[in-house]
Symmetry: C2
Subunit: 352 residues, 2 copies
């Protein structure tokens, strides 16, 4: 059995602690400076305040002041921070980064730097000290996983992915258990691009629920599911184009990291709620206000892609008309345009 | 404008009449011998009894006794019957089949004959009189379309598909309008295989809702969506394998006829209800009884595939372990086995 130190005690970091503890690993759950209240609750034996669920007693909650000690003799470092916390976390673990100490990250997606788009495992690697950087290949957990369900031991399939499939398989083998099914996805670029894109597209799929309500309809099997399903299918087509344009394999979109994660994002949580409000016609400002400060990854990725788009078209990686749905979602969610889905431009013959 | 005669006044045949009438075509909706009550209602100006909706006045409802007259001078014949009615319908139109009179069919899927599996457009073609058979290429409508939504003019994207893409495009051009977006799918085998398979797999995806309820859970964003999404992704993987084994293109699964139709089938109607009951543990007999005689395409396709499977494995078109999810769904829905999803066998490296 191994010692695993999870950095960040938010919902997903804490949820990951559950299958690891159930496997018999020694799990330390260390809060970031923003997690003080969570750690206090857990140390007092109370439920996790955002998961609304008690964690197994074997998980050791620790405040950020205990981080250095915890990292000094851990076998595995797991980054449980949001993408906004990645820089802080990379700095916090720097002194303890070592080729024999694999890094697992629940943060996933895409970020933009001076040179273009970069997947998060590469970003974390680049932030590690130069002396060890090239020998460490962070592994990201992708695929459909609602934290609150994992913490309740709902059967969950995830994909471990990274530049080194061997390290990914090592960490998957260490993590998998009766309800936590960890597979290895070799296409790390495809997996991470899907992880980022699914938020934008799930928002688009959720528009249908809002439009239906706006038209006075009640939820039910006659609603706007035809609309929703067409947007779902076009989302998959555009995700394939973007994955290919960014150097991944389009086929990855047909798997756990693509359609699986897109499906779960439509069913669970805040992205769907936000899309529904836009569909209802509340407008961007009011819809954001109603989210009460929750991170909206869908807006982040739309901004990132809008900025990256000209370069992708200039190099020929993307045809200008390849993404009619994404273009419309950008107008709606960033520029407050009214919803007017350009269905007639969908399902074009554009590759792939 | 054209004269279109729809044979069969069930939900889907009648729903298709709406965009055709809105386009200005002259639409005759002719009931089968089983549709007498529907036609009486429509002729009396009442709502369609199963669509629970009035149809536009321009649609002309006619009893089966008027069929021959209607067919004698129609430009297009549209078959609006269920797969069980295809033989009857083919016989009924035989005298009027002509190379200049294209056949559109809303029936879709797979059937088994002495020589193996056959897609429905091929089956209909084979049933036509020998003198005209080779010159007529029936076109099927595939993709995500809940009849009740189309009849209410919810934006809908469908794929017209057949052995002749030119005929498919001709009929799509004649049908498409502001809310009915008709695209052409050249891979008729892939589209039809998807249309059949999605029923079986949607049943499997719906098991999660039943399992969640059985465990005492209420619907909501923390449910068993992780389970559901993993089954969704594995469904797509297995559909790709089956489409390839049967001579279609795996990529078709990533489009409107595959993920689009699978998504809508999960959200609308009876297949999902049936799967939920199986997940609840009601057993096959009780679950079927609760369907009150509604056709269960999911059971039909599971039977068809079970019978066809040995030959597909013998020829090497399918690996024996390529379909762990379908195997489990077959045990659950045909042999009343308890639900025990074999997640650990999912997402294997099997091609494609």
């Amino acid at each position: 059995m191994a010692t695993v130190t999870i950095v960040g005690a938010g919902m997903m970091g804490s949820a990951l602690a559950v299958p690891l503890a159930d496997r018999g690993h020694s799990v330390r759950l260390v809060g970031t400076p923003l997690d003080a209240h969570i750690i206090e609750c857990l140390q007092a034996g109370k439920p996790h305040p955002t998961l609304k669920q008690s964690l197994p007693g074997a998980i050791r909650p620790l405040p950020v002041t205990a981080l250095d000690d915890a990292l000094s003799d851990t076998d595995v470092i797991a980054l449980g921070v949001s993408s906004a916390g990645v820089r802080w976390a990379a700095a916090a673990i720097a002194r303890h980064a070592h080729p024999d100490r694999p890094i697992l990250m629940i943060t996933k997606g895409l970020d933009r730097d001076a040179t273009g788009l970069r997947i998060l495992p590469d970003q974390v690697q680049a932030l590690l000290p130069a002396a060890v950087r090239d020998a460490i290949h962070p592994v990201a957990v992708a695929g459909p996983c609602i934290a609150g369900e994992l913490a309740r031991r709902v059967p969950t399939c995830v994909a471990f992915t990274g530049r080194s499939p061997a390290v990914a398989e090592h960490l998957a083998a260490l993590s998998r258990g009766p309800y936590y099914h960890a597979f290895v996805e070799e296409d790390v670029v495809g997996a991470e691009v899907c992880a980022a894109l699914k938020n934008a597209y799930a928002m688009g799929i959720a528009l249908a629920a809002g439009l239906h309500e706006r038209a006075g309809g009640a939820p039910g099997s006659v609603a706007m599911h035809n609309y929703e399903a067409a947007v779902f299918a076009q989302s998959v087509a555009e995700m394939r184009r973007l994955v290919r344009a960014l150097g991944g394999r389009p086929r990855t979109v047909a798997g756990l990291c693509g359609v699986g994660d897109l499906d779960v994002t439509c069913n669970g949580g805040r992205t769907g709620r936000f899309g529904r409000w836009l569909g209802l016609g509340l407008g961007v400002k009011e819809s954001i206000a109603r989210m009460e400060g929750a991170t909206l990854e869908c807006l982040e990725i739309l901004e990132v892609l809008r900025a990256a788009r000209p370069a992708l078209e200039r190099t020929g990686a993307l045809e200008p008309d390849a993404l009619p749905l994404l273009d419309h979602l950008t107008s709606v969610a960033l520029d407050d345009a009214p919803v007017a889905m350009p269905f007639e431009r969908f399902f074009g013959a554009s590759a792939p």
